[in-house]
């Protein structure tokens, strides 16, 4: 068992621009701390609005040991509760997604209305006060259709910065009028931070992602200018030109495109609308739209791919015809759930406007390739010879940004705990 002070010293001696020390990737106590501090106190991306289109629709999400139920009420607003009966603690909703009227515990019939108030508990006598036994609430917030929850009592307020910055980027893609075309759950055999780190760079793309790199240029995420051979420097030049040209075109039709980097926020995030190669329309093998029915009021298919990353657990790609969202949730020190959801226009008809195969293949393949890489990285972190290695400042600045954020959030946590102790 590592003590808190041992973890604290691991945190404090972390060297900038280097990968984390091995216990961060494989120690059970550090995962417990991550679930408590990172996943328990930050805004976590868990679902999209079209998963709960109508009143009574409900989804459940597991974060560590906590099960949370998210419910759309008759007023169309979202509510989130701990999925635990206030009687003897039975889990209330056992399905990943369902539709309910009131929230009813099947154990002894305790029933809560959609606002979490206990409205029925039989045989509890006249002295029993129902009003003290409502469901425990959880913060929930939909940002233009992306649903975030926060388990902390006081949720980080800078979600407002994220909302203000991101809504103009995301809103034109009109998630409200999308439907879930497909979703997948992949368990990666690695620590959640390895999953995130892997996502924050494209250093590995050319060698590992033959499908993804058809539409997506590896250079969108940084490169070292002095090492490029002739072919690659030509590609870089072309890429940079297309950024300038496309950004101007997209901005002129009201689509924010410029990079926004708020990765150091408590609610850290980054976005940019990236040009796509060839036809430039979508993350597909032929780089054309996967769905003929464009989103929102788009008439132009060539809108590139809006990338949106959040700390600690998500990334998203918004194209003219479809959206792919990714939610990362830790299961164990060396096991991580990646939930991927593909959205298309709600009126798009399968096998007429799109086929699932074409829609999902780039990211299905890419996810499998990444899972393999994360597994290798995990295995490495468990070897005696592992020691933190250097990140490339050219291709891995966002990996560093992620680790730096993570370490700072832990430091902040230790500082707060110390302050609390001192105050007692």
């Amino acid at each position: 068992m590592r003590s808190t002070s041992e973890i604290q010293s691991l945190v404090n001696r972390r060297q900038k621009n280097k990968s984390l020390e091995a216990p961060f990737y494989n120690a059970a106590e550090i995962l417990d701390l991550d679930i408590d501090v990172i996943f328990g106190k930050h805004w976590i991306f868990v679902a999209v609005d079209p998963e709960l289109p109508e009143p009574g629709d409900c989804v459940t999400v597991e974060i560590g040991n906590a099960s949370i139920l998210i419910l759309r009420g008759d007023d169309m607003e979202l509510r989130a509760f701990h999925n635990v009966c206030r009687h003897r603690g039975a889990r209330l909703i056992d399905e990943r997604a369902t539709t309910i009227g009131n929230i009813v515990c099947r154990y002894h019939g305790w029933s809560y209305n959609e606002d979490g108030e206990l409205i029925l508990a039989e045989h509890m006598g006249s002295g029993f006060d129902k009003s003290c036994h409502g469901l425990k609430t959880v913060h929930v917030r939909s940002i233009a259709g992306l649903i975030f929850i926060c388990l902390a009592k006081d949720a980080p307020e800078d979600i407002e910065d994220l909302a203000r910055t991101m809504e103009p980027y995301i809103a034109p893609h009109d998630i409200a009028h999308c439907k879930v075309a497909h979703s997948s759950e992949l368990i990666e055999e690695g620590n959640w931070k390895l999953t995130m780190e892997n996502n924050r760079e494209c250093y590995h793309c050319e060698g590992n992602h033959p499908q993804l790199t058809v539409p997506l240029s590896e250079f969108g995420f940084g490169f070292s200018p002095d090492e490029l051979d002739e072919r690659r420097s030509g590609d870089v030049k072309k890429y940079l030109e297309s950024v300038a040209r496309d950004h101007q075109r997209w901005e002129s039709c009201g689509l924010p495109s410029a990079e926004e980097d708020h990765l150091a926020n408590v609610t850290g995030f980054r976005t940019m609308r990236l040009p796509l190669s060839w036809e430039g329309e979508s993350h597909t093998l032929d780089t054309k739209v996967a769905s003929k029915k464009l989103l929102g009021s788009f008439t132009d298919a060539k809108l590139g791919g809006l990338s949106f990353w959040t700390h600690p657990n998500s990334w998203h790609h918004f194209m003219s015809d479809h959206i792919v969202t990714f939610s990362v949730l830790p299961l164990a020190p060396n096991r991580t759930l990646v939930r991927t959801t593909w959205l298309v226009h709600k009126d798009a008809i399968e096998n007429q406007d799109y086929t699932l195969d074409n829609l999902t293949q780039v990211w299905t393949m890419t996810n499998l390739q990444d899972a393999m890489l994360v597994r290798l990285a995990q295995l490495g972190s468990e070897q005696p010879a592992y020691e933190p290695g250097p990140y490339s400042t050219f291709t891995e600045p966002h990996v560093e940004a992620f680790c730096d954020w993570y370490i700072k959030r832990l430091q902040n946590h230790f500082a707060e705990t110390k302050a609390e102790l001192a105050a007692e």
Partner: protein
């Protein structure tokens, strides 16, 4: 064949029920809150030959497969596509399936057209159409056809609806009446809600009302279509007025296919009788009980010797959720059911009292 006498469009082959049996949905229109029109054509262009008032028979992939007849509501003078107009019936598998799943591009197996309920509104006869609810569809087809061909010669069109919001084709009929002076319209609504301004007739169709709507109805040929109880009421009324019933033609709007909802809907607006009892049937087990005023469906089921699952018995937990196959109930629930489930024909039997004879699936 004297090809030069044909225009290009008439080269489209005729729909041949012996050979053709697949329709492709091309468009879906929401007519009222619970009525949709579905537009179909063949896979390849086909011209449909039908008499206005005829129906087609649809095989719908619900609960295995059900067969339902739906009247064509389109004009027979626009032969390249057919339309049906369908009301969502609580607990009606066919209409619910169409409403929920029939979208442009979807294919469906059909046969027909068939049926003999038809009138030529351009002919000599003075006509009176009397319809209620979805019974309007054959009348609409006849009226549209007549307007497309020339003009109805002398047509009174009377339609009874539950409320102004339930009048199907209201705007189109008003427009046709403006363009065709020989078409006269009259609507009556059971209730005029506060949300829709309503200046038409209110209440159930009565002899007195009919004499105002169509003063010379005794001289007309009458076509009647609607729920069975509506038509029964009309027959009684006409006989009472001394109408020559040889000039009376009627058709049940649904050919017995999906009578449930609309029949009972009409029954529910029959005059209130205070000590009325209703018949509650459970077709799965064959039990039937008479249910007195204020008795819940759950109590009725128990009376019949059934033991349906229930828990809170006050509409909160949802345990007793069941399917109302036909009829109407008054449900005072406590959040154990969502509006969308109610729209799908579900009820909580512990807090529902019948407003008509009902059938419940338990």
């Amino acid at each position: 064949m004297a090809d030069e006498k044909l225009t290009e469009v008439t080269r489209v082959p005729l729909w041949d029920p012996e050979q053709d049996d697949v329709l492709v949905c091309r468009q879906v229109r929401q007519e009222t809150h619970d009525v949709k029109t579905f537009v179909f054509s063949g896979r390849e262009p086909r011209a449909f030959r039908f008499y206005p008032g005829q129906y087609m028979t649809f095989d719908l992939p619900v609960e295995g497969m059900v067969t339902r007849c739906y009247t064509i509501s389109a004009s027979a003078a626009r032969p390249y596509r057919v339309e049906i107009t369908v009301k969502r019936v609580p607990g009606g598998p066919g209409s619910n399936w169409l409403h929920d799943y029939m979208v442009p591009g979807k294919e469906v197996n059909v046969s027909g057209p068939g049926g003999e309920f038809t009138a030529d509104a351009t002919g000599e006869d003075k006509l009176l159409f009397l319809s209620a609810g979805s019974g309007i569809t054959p009348m609409m087809s006849m009226t549209r056809t007549a307007c497309d061909l020339s003009e109805p010669s002398d047509l009174h069109f009377v339609h009874a609806a539950r409320s102004p919001a339930d009048i199907i084709f209201r705007d189109e009929l008003a427009l046709l009446a403006t363009q065709n002076p020989s078409l006269k319209l009259a609507f009556t609504c059971e209730t005029a809600s506060a949300n829709h301004s309503w200046s038409g007739y209110t209440g159930r169709l009565s002899l007195q009302m009919l004499s105002l709507m169509s003063p010379d109805f005794l001289e007309r040929k009458i076509f009647c279509c609607g729920p069975a109880l509506f038509m029964e009421g009309v027959r009684n009324m006409l006989q009472q007025a001394g109408f020559n019933m040889e000039k009376y033609y009627e058709e049940s709007f649904d050919f017995g296919a999906e009578t449930a909802g609309d029949l009972e809907e009409y029954a529910s607006v029959a005059p209130e009788i205070s000590d009325q009892t209703f018949r509650v049937s459970f077709p799965k087990t064959g039990h039937v009980v008479e249910c007195g005023p204020g008795m819940t469906v759950l109590s009725a089921a128990r009376e019949a010797g059934l033991l349906p699952v229930s828990s809170c018995q006050r509409g909160i937990c949802g345990t007793c959720k069941s399917k109302l196959i036909s009829g109407q109930v008054d449900m005072q629930h406590g959040g154990g059911i969502r509006q969308r489930e109610i729209d799908q024909g579900k009820i909580l039997i512990c807090c529902s009292t019948p407003l008509s004879d009902i059938e419940v699936e338990i």
